[in-house]
Each structure stands twice: as structure tokens, then as C-alpha cells.
Subunit: 401 residues, 2 copies
């Protein structure tokens, strides 16, 4: 059966960053062909392989130190006829190849700059720029420096039409010239977008090699971490949730949802979160980690509970009957009934231990076992992963000038 | 010189509550006469007197155990021609006298009910119902019980026109039949209005003598107060501000303003006030007392400081230069720059001690000496006034069912 091999990705167009080890080869069958035949061929090419799944199965193999993906796809005549997202990739590859000549170094500079300032990668963990997006920006603006100059005046909703595009909204909208209904920057978050903008302005102002190759962040020693936490005077809670072994792009969005749900629970009960972050620990059991830094983690026994306005007679009576022996009240404040009643959870960590199972943590995390650790316990059980996570948390900083 | 004596107030119309000791006698001079002549006559009537001031001077004397006010006024032909607020009183007196026959007991019941449930008095400290307002309500509704029935369905903005009245707004609007541009209930606050409404519903539901004569609140012993505060788990701060010897109607509104300003200062800095109240101590030096009960009174060393959006390049640069060495950051959250910086005041009481002089406490309090006492100091210096104030605070409760 006929099957055409196509080299795609940065390797195909000389925009491959030194150190990259990924080679993508697509195996295209005719539009009405049998894609399983292409998978068979992939298996034969690389007898020692691992099968992975995106929309369809593909073959991943390590060959001579490179990570090679052999991806079956349909060889459609026009991108509007694609059957699966991967069918679009050969068209991207062709679009860029035809226009990038002479600007390959600009793409390399831009990608390495994005990597250096922490915004490279359109995976859902990073929420940054894809390689294809970097290429399109160079094609649109004409050079690495012109991309930075252009980005300096980006605002939320900035739109770049490389083709007559659909009405799409997002922090940045770059219409895919190969498929005008698609935003190439769909995965880019507002904050990553402006992390890039800030760095771009900074670089234009005072260029420096460290934008491309920043000094490595040294993992802090547990004693340093303890001292830094003491200096902040806050309380930390770490939630560790066991998770199934799924890819980052599945787990990260759920971890972010869980983070928002936990913050909501804490804030509804009167606690206050200064900042929070998530991390995923692989190696052995997969565990999602939610780190919460609290500026208010302990509250008095009494809390205010506001009821209906007095003129809603029925509601008011029900409220009074429902709170038969308050610590103070009922009294009237701004027309509404108020009682002061005992609080169920005085400490944030107790609230989390007691109520975490009542909130939705997302499909794959809700069934996981949950541990809630206090600041003291975090410091006691500090492993390398946690020290790295806390180092990144405590030294969080973007380049801006 | 001619001067007509007029007995006004409840004594003039048989609506005088047992125990009241106030007699108001107005001394009316002709519209073009000399009001100082009336003051001279008042001085002669009561040689042992004290001169007091409202819009004009008047004479106050204690005669046979009664508090007698001798008030000079102008005998105008029509209430639209009054020269001073007191000139209106004889018209009120006449209006009520002509209509109240046979309903005097209803007025007495209503006034005593209002007293018993804590809403009687149109002074600015109480913010409740005046005697004249009680009389008008009886005239309008027809009896004590019908007033309670009517009040049961009051809503904010309820309007009672005893004459074609002006367009006035307020929690309750009762047009003065003697002066249709005036709201007789102007001093009534929303909360006092609905304290009355709640009690009225309660009484109709289950009438009881205790509405008229509630059991006296026993002043709590300092040990009980200490125990109750411990049970609530909150922190109290008492601000004591020396004040000039002026009437309640001047000082109370300023104390309420000072209370709001202090709460604003605390909340802007991240602390949280559960409830607060004010009290005025006379006897010796006059002191305004602001009691603040805090549900959040201590905060961590670090605080979040949010700056402009990154796309406002000029503002963003200025913000970064203005915060050169934060504990964390700058980083981007929802498009805005954030730094985490040290907090100036970690304790609410320190904030108050350090910054109280920077906020406006009102005309007569701003120049006063201020002391800020913590819970411990409040309990140590507890005098009878303070024990009474704290008792009222801790047992605050309105009748509602």
C-alpha cells in the first residue's frame, strides 16, 4: 500500500534549536486510504518502539539518541478537508518552508529568546508560544528584532491576519494561513503573552545574552526555604493528590481547575490566599501538588452571618428560626438581619482536611487520595521535587524594566 | 411688652408618659416683636435657671422636680412664615390637639412601646421616632394596634402623606401637615425603622407586656466580659478621643463619621472589622469612645501590591522602578504587574497608633488626644461606663420573630 513519508517540524526547515532531539516524520496515506496501514509501516521502521495516542495512535522511538515520532496521517488535497489535527501539519510545514528562506536565523533567535524568558511551548502547562507561531511572527514582522518591536505595543486582543480570518477572540489572535478558522495562538495565556511583551521591551532597551541563556536557578536548600518562609510570615498548605498516569495536557488544566476550586473554598470561608501554584510529580506514583500561600489562615470563633432584609417578613422569620442561639444578634445592619455565630473551621488546613472531598477537583483528580500538609510538615518532608517547586515559587520573577 | 405663653408638647395634649419630667412652655412674641424681651421674661419667671442654646437662647429650669424649658418664639400667623424651627411647634401642638381626642391612650401605648423596643427619640444618637411622629402615626392609622399593623408591611421609602407633600426621600417619609416641605421622620434611620417594624410584627404575633417594659439589662461583671470576649476569639481595640463639651446632636454624627473613617483605614490595610460601636462618656472630661471588634487583627510581613497592566508601558516601568527590591516579583497576574513587598503595620492596633492622626475624625474630634487600647488594656482599665458599653455591645439583639 502506498504511503508517503514527510519530514515536518523544525528539522524540515532549518529552524531547529541546538539541543533539540525531536524529529517528526509523518506517514501520509491517500485521503480514502487506510491509516492503520501507515501505523503498520511505522512499526516496521522502528521495531523497538512505544505506541502513543493523540487523536490517533502513533509510534515513538529512540533512534541514535533522537526522539523520533512516526505519525500516520491522511494526505488530503486541501487543509479544509483534514480528517484529524495532524493532517494539518504538512500544510504548516509547506507554508513556512516556502516563505522562511533567509530568515531561519531570526526564527532560531526568537525561539531561543522565548525559551530563555520562559514563554516557549504551546503545551497546556506552559501556555506559551509554539514553534509554528514563532515562525509565523517572523514571516509577518520580517525579522527577530521587528517581532520584538511589534510585540512591544501589543495589547490584549491584538490580531495578526496572515489570511482573511474568522471572528475569533483571545489574548492574541494569529489567524492560521492554512486554516482561517483557527487561532495559532489559542493556547497562549494572557500572562505568558505579556511576559513575552515585557521581556521584548526590556531587551530592546538593553540587549543582553542572558535573555537567551538565563543563569540557572539554584535549587534552594531546605534551610534557606525555611528562612524565606519565616521572613514572609505567611502559612503554606500543600495539597498532594494522587493522579492517574496521563499526559501533562490532560492533567494540568485539571490541576488549575482544582487550584481555583480550593481557593474558592478557602475564600468563601473567610481565609485569604496570597498566591498559589501547581506542580506535577512523575517518577513512581503520579501526584498533583497544589501549593497555597495564605495571608489569613486562622480566624476567630465568631463569624458574621448576614440574612435577608427585615421587610421580607417570611425570609426574615425563617432566618431567625434557623439561627436560634447566636453568640450575638439578631440585629439589623443596613436593613438586613445579622447574627454572629460560631465558625466551623478556625484553621484553613482543618477546613481543607474536612471539606476537600466536597468540592470538585476535576475528572481525574476527584477520586485521588488527598493529603494536606502544613508549613511545618512541608519543611519536614521536603524532597528534591518539592525544594525545586518551592524555589521556583519563592523566586518568581519576570523580566521587566 | 406683650408675650403669649403656650403650653406645648405632650403635657399640652394628655399624651405624656408617666415618668416624663419635661414641660415645654413657649413664650411667643408678635411676628415683628423683639424675641429678647421674651427671654427676659423667661429669666424672671425662673430666677434659678441655666441658659441653653438651640437656634436661639432659651431658659432651662428645675421647678418642683420637673425639667421646664421656657422657649422664646415668634407668634407667626402661618407656618410658612416661621423665622426659626421652634416657631413651628405651636402649630404642631394645635394640629395634634384638634385631632387626637379619644386616641390619647393609643399615643401613650405607642410611645411606651417605642421606648420599650429602643426606637423612641429623634435625637441623632438614637435616630428613632419623635413624640410628634408617634402622634401623627396614631392620627393616620387610627389606633395603636393599627399603627403596628400598618408598620408590619412598611418597606424602605414608605410614604405617609398627611398633606399634599413635597418630593422628599428617606427610609420613611411622613409629610408634616404643618409644613409640607418637611419630613417628620427625617431623623429616623433605616435600621431603627425596621427595628420598630420587626418588633411590631413580633408583638402582633404574640403580645406581651415586656415589649413595653423590657427586663433591665444587667451590667456584666468584668470577668464575664473577659470570658465572653475569649469565647468570641476576636480582638478588640478601643479608641478614646477627648472631645469638647458639646451636645449629643453635635458629637454623635461626628463619632459615626470617625468610626467609618477608622474602619476604612483598617480595611484598606487588609484588616477586618467584625462590628464596631461608639459611646460618649460625660462626667469630667468628655471622651468619645470607638470600639472596634476585629476578626483579622494580625497579618503576615508580606503583602501583595498590584500595579498597572503590562501594556501600559510607562506606568509599568514606573511601578517596577518604584518597587526595586520586592520579596517576590514583579510577576504578571491577569495582565497586571504584581510585587510582594513588606507590610508596614502587621498589627491593627499599631496601625491605629501610627496613622490615626492622618485620617479625618470630624471637626471636634480631630484635635482631641487619642488613646488606642488593646483587648488586654480594655479589660485592665474597665470602669463602669466601659462595662456598660461592652455589655450593650456583647448582648446586642433586636426583637424579631
Amino acid at each position: 500500500m502506498a504511503c508517503r513519508g514527510i519530514l515536518v517540524g523544525s528539522a524540515a526547515r532549518n529552524t531547529w534549536l541546538s539541543g533539540d532531539r525531536d524529529i517528526d516524520i509523518f506517514l501520509a496515506v491517500p485521503e480514502d486510504g487506510d491509516i492503520t496501514a501507515a501505523l503498520e509501516i511505522a512499526r516496521e521502521i522502528a521495531p523497538e518502539h512505544e505506541e502513543r495516542y493523540a487523536e490517533h495512535a502513533y509510534v515513538h522511538a529512540r533512534i541514535d539518541g533522537f526522539d523520533v515520532d512516526l505519525v500516520p496521517c491522511y494526505d488530503v488535497s486541501d487543509p479544509s478537508r483534514i480528517k484529524s489535527a495532524v493532517d494539518r501539519t504538512p500544510f504548516h510545514s509547506r507554508y513556512v518552508s516556502e516563505r522562511i528562506k533567509g530568515m531561519e536565523d531570526d526564527v532560531l533567535l526568537l525561539k531561543q529568546f522565548m525559551k530563555g524568558v520562559g514563554v516557549y511551548g504551546s503545551d497546556l502547562r506552559t501556555g506559551g508560544f509554539s514553534g509554528y507561531l514563532a515562525e509565523l511572527l517572523v514571516i509577518h514582522y520580517g525579522s527577530f528584532l521587528r517581532v520584538l518591536e511589534g510585540a512591544s505595543s501589543w495589547r490584549p486582543g491584538t490580531r495578526i491576519d496572515l489570511a482573511q480570518g474568522a471572528d475569533i477572540s483571545g489574548p492574541l489572535v494569529v489567524i492560521d494561513p492554512v486554516d482561517p478558522n483557527r487561532n495559532v495562538a489559542a493556547a497562549l495565556t494572557l500572562d505568558r503573552m505579556f511576559q513575552f511583551v515585557a521581556a521584548a521591551r526590556c531587551f530592546l532597551n538593553s540587549p543582553d545574552i542572558s535573555f537567551f541563556f538565563p543563569p540557572e536557578v539554584q535549587r534552594m536548600h531546605p534551610d534557606e526555604i525555611r528562612a524565606e518562609i519565616a521572613r514572609r510570615g505567611t502559612e503554606f498548605v500543600l495539597l498532594e493528590i494522587s493522579a492517574p498516569d496521563m499526559v501533562d495536557d490532560v492533567l494540568y488544566p485539571q490541576m488549575r481547575k482544582a487550584e481555583a476550586a480550593v481557593r474558592g473554598l478557602l475564600e468563601r470561608e473567610g481565609f485569604q490566599v496570597l498566591r498559589s501554584d501547581v506542580d506535577l510529580v512523575r517518577g513512581g506514583d503520579v501526584r498533583a501538588r497544589l501549593l497555597l500561600e495564605l495571608s489569613i489562615w486562622e480566624l476567630p470563633s465568631v463569624r458574621r452571618h448576614t440574612g435577608p432584609p427585615v421587610w421580607e417578613a417570611e425570609h426574615a422569620s425563617r432566618f431567625v428560626r434557623g439561627n436560634p442561639s447566636p453568640l450575638s444578634g439578631p440585629y439589623i445592619d443596613d436593613g438586613r438581619l445579622v447574627v454572629e455565630i460560631p465558625r466551623r473551621y478556625r484553621r484553613a488546613v482543618d477546613l481543607l482536611k474536612g471539606e476537600i472531598h466536597r468540592i470538585s477537583l476535576g475528572k481525574h483528580l476527584s477520586s485521588g487520595r488527598v493529603r494536606a500538609l502544613s508549613t511545618r510538615e512541608i519543611i519536614e518532608m521536603m524532597d528534591e521535587d518539592l525544594a525545586e517547586f518551592l524555589t521556583a515559587y519563592l523566586t518568581k520573577k519576570v523580566r521587566i524594566c
